[in-house]
Symmetry: C2
Subunit: 114 residues, 2 copies
DNA sequence: GGGATAGTCAAGTGGTAGCTTAAGTATCCA
DNA sequence: TGGATACTTAAGCTACCACTTGACTATCCC
């Protein structure tokens, strides 16, 4: 199995697969927030929120820095970009394969046609 | 614990979060394949492959039809498109929020400046 | 018909995810 | 200083996931 290279994508899509983590991202696209604010927004404990934030930071979807006792979280565009890149790569590969199929069908038509 | 409702985005990103399922997608972007071919490609049993395919079909990433005893699988672009759409939505929302921040900073500079 | 092929279904297993509570650390401020 | 605030860490619990094996159905073709 070709798993080594896949780890980043694993983490990335796994991070996006949870509704609460996506809610954090959606919230942060509208501006930075503290851990407590995010916890209130999600309706879970602060501890659970910290765990989600860890996952989001590991996949470069969120960054955060701590000032005094307050941790401020914001979007890290790197993760969003590489997720989009993977999907675009697949879509383009698929479209190319459709093009090749089209070319083959055209050739067949030409051969058998006239 | 609250049972999470399996929303579309949940299913979608969860489907993409598994390396074997992504390998199926990558394989299918290069053209259709049967269940056995996919199983051989992944190096897992046919039964496991069928389970992956079920997940991929539920999230509209893959379609399949059965002719005789052979099931042929192909890419369903709907899933890829809606995953891309979600990510793009977040990225543009984030960029707009940066714009608004920029505007505020400009105003502040104008007010306090000179 | 009957053996091989292609896929489906069900049950069981080890591992992991997401959540909680509880106890800790660091910082703020009256 | 000392109490309140903001976050961190650890342990434990339940549910779910990816995978297997084994039995089964449907189809092909000699």
């Amino acid at each position: 199995m070709l798993k080594r290279k896949a780890e980043a994508a694993d983490r990335l899509f796994h991070a996006l697969a949870d509704a609460n983590r996506r809610a954090v991202i959606e919230r942060l696209t509208r501006g930075p927030a503290t851990v407590s604010e995010l916890a209130a927004h999600l309706g879970v404990t602060v501890a659970a929120t910290v765990q989600h934030l860890q996952v989001l930071q590991d996949s470069e979807l969120v960054r955060s820095e701590k000032n005094g006792r307050v941790r401020t979280c914001r979007i890290d565009p790197a993760g969003l970009r590489s997720a989009e890149a993977w999907l675009q790569r697949q879509r383009t590969a698929w479209e190319h394969s459709l093009d090749r199929l089209g070319a083959v069908l055209d050739d067949r038509t030409k051969e058998s046609g006239s």
